[in-house]
Symmetry: C2
DNA sequence: AACATAAATGACAGCGCTGTCATTTAAAAT
DNA sequence: ATTTTAAATGACAGCGCTGTCATTTATGTT
């Protein structure tokens, strides 16, 4: 069973290989009739263009890279699934590249990866999206890229975003609706725009509901479980402790749950708790966690499409659709206990 | 800044391109002196062979595929990290392919993937490792593959394994050492060799310690959280309930924890609990979960190496090293409460 | 020293596509 | 009908490697 080449298709169709190539690449300047005829033969023969030959001849790898620093593995697999989906659709391959944003050899490694895999473009996720040095490097090497990042109007490069501000507002509103007025807030790592956005959402929600902002109810975390434990201890030992806590991600929320268990504060009866991100974890905790779910896969799909449409000639550019995060109400939140 | 080709290296070194090619591919029949000289020039020029050209000329893609069905995302990312590591080392690329083992279009999809990406070989993980139809297909298309799978002496194909039997024995021994005699066991999905192995380990540990085997302490689960809840409820309502429970994975253990919380049975005081797999979850539960940690990344690294060494000429075949799972003792297990 | 043998190297074609540019064919304009 | 202009198609080289096989050089043998 020998391989079918473009030559074979061309012969069958009675045209030159170049015309077949045109059909495959969606080039214009092919008459509708020939296009249809050739397409039919391609289908019939189940012809798949040889990627290596395409890459070599056209000097593009048909590969895009996905860079991420391990936030959570569930997030990563969703991300991958989304980008893969797009890749598959457009005949691209995906090179995944886990990295550590804060190590000095990230750039050399990436440079090396780019040189050896010749990726046509990159999809970046936080925190790499905030790594200016990295972005500058990509600019300097003319590597196309798109960012997946919290909404931030300051950015001008290709980007797909989620609105963390309004997602957080929703959560806080949910707590306020339950009668909570003293709502603790655990910040994520500063310098991450996501953290700032969430904090902003918190403040806005309070303001809109005429709940006074109390600085002492805001404590710093760093997105880790342990920091959640510490932050919760601090909040819960407050002289007038909050009746609800919003943690800037689920891991910290899990930490809060641990701290609450240690202090024998039953959730949701004496303390309501909101997480952020809807990690699988959220379903497995006792009680299950009220949190915010992001359409990560869909977002990644859009990022991929944005990138690939930028890369391929003869394709319309892509206008990503606004995607919404969603509050998932579970058992960790309830009416305030007067 | 133009690209450096083999031609450039050859000229610099005063040899033919073919000789440079020989050096790059580790072929024999190159004198040590020329090899060294060429290697030096390669380093100097930072020459990276063009993968597309290599693939096209040699008719191999320099790509290997990783097939998995979503067991847990943490597992997947570890897996990927390991295989990537090997790929990187040998200049291979990795094509990830999440699949759903139980859907009928798995094979067509895979066939398509193979045709379009021309992967040189595959790494398979459970449950695909047990999908005979899939394996037959690979055999029939002469696609090299290796399995990552629980130890099972019946298999003859290339495989890297972990010994689930002895890992489980260790856990049960741990419980027995704490004085537990009535130990509940929650089975995983039948037909998964891992489940059988774990059950075997359980029975062996009991026997070795002269603890009688009580069939009523064994209940069926299916690796999901919910099945763990149900199984635990059944066990804990037993007329003489177990003082300890071993769940065949962490998700089910989490379910047990939930059931225990509902029944107000404090862990570990009135019930000890062992999980399996050391999902990140295990650290985040309250109490933290005693479980078994597998060297997944290392295992994946070995699988990759086993595969690649099989693919590349001029390489020694690889004899994987035996890897050991390890019991991680945390807060969910304790002395039996008499 | 002359030959046989093995090791090291090179010449050359070609892998399967696509870019460039020339050529043919159809449509529009006169 | 004839010329002008645009659309459709084709010829051909070459992307950067590697496989094959011929050739050169070193090594060993008598």
């Amino acid at each position: 069973m020998k391989k079918i080449t473009m030559q074979d298709v061309a012969e069958q169709a009675g045209v030159s290989p170049k015309t077949v190539s045109r059909v495959i690449n969606n080039e214009p300047r092919v008459s509708e009739s020939t296009r249809k005829k050739i397409q039919q033969i391609i289908d019939e023969l189940d012809f798949q263009p040889n990627k290596s030959a395409q890459s070599l001849a056209a000097d593009r790898s048909l590969l895009i890279g996905l860079l991420y620093d391990n936030p959570s593995s569930a997030y990563i697999t969703n991300l991958q699934a989304g980008v893969l989906d797009t890749c598959y659709q457009f005949g691209y391959g995906l090179v995944i590249h886990p990295c550590q944003n804060d190590t000095p050899d990230l750039l050399p490694k990436l440079r090396n990866l780019l040189a050896s895999s010749r990726m046509d473009g990159l999809v970046l996720t936080p925190p790499m999206t905030e790594n200016q040095e990295l972005l500058d490097f990509l600019e300097s090497t003319d590597t196309p890229y798109v960012l997946i990042s919290p909404l931030d109007d300051a950015r001008t490069c290709p980007i797909v975003s989620l609105d963390d501000v309004s997602a957080t507002k929703q959560s806080i509103q949910h707590l306020i609706d339950f009668g909570h007025r003293r709502i603790g807030f655990i910040l994520g790592t500063r310098q991450r725009s996501g953290s700032e956005m969430r904090f902003l959402g918190y403040k806005q929600a309070l303001e809109e509901n005429n709940v006074s902002f109390d600085e002492s109810l805001v404590v710093q975390g760093d997105f880790t479980f342990d920091s959640g434990v510490v932050a919760a201890q601090q909040l819960l030992r407050h002289e007038t402790p909050p009746s609800a806590i919003f943690a800037s991600n689920d891991y910290m929320a899990a930490g809060v749950m641990k701290a609450a268990a240690q202090l024998r504060i039953p959730i949701p009866y004496e303390l309501s708790l909101c997480g952020f991100d809807d990690t699988p974890l959220a379903m497995y905790m006792t009680p299950t966690l009220t949190t915010v779910r992001h359409p990560v896969e869909q977002l990644a799909r859009e990022a991929g499409e944005l990138l690939i449409r930028q890369l391929k000639k003869y394709l319309q550019p892509f206008k990503p659709e606004e995607l919404q995060s969603k509050l998932i109400i579970r058992d960790s939140t309830g009416p305030v206990n007067k």
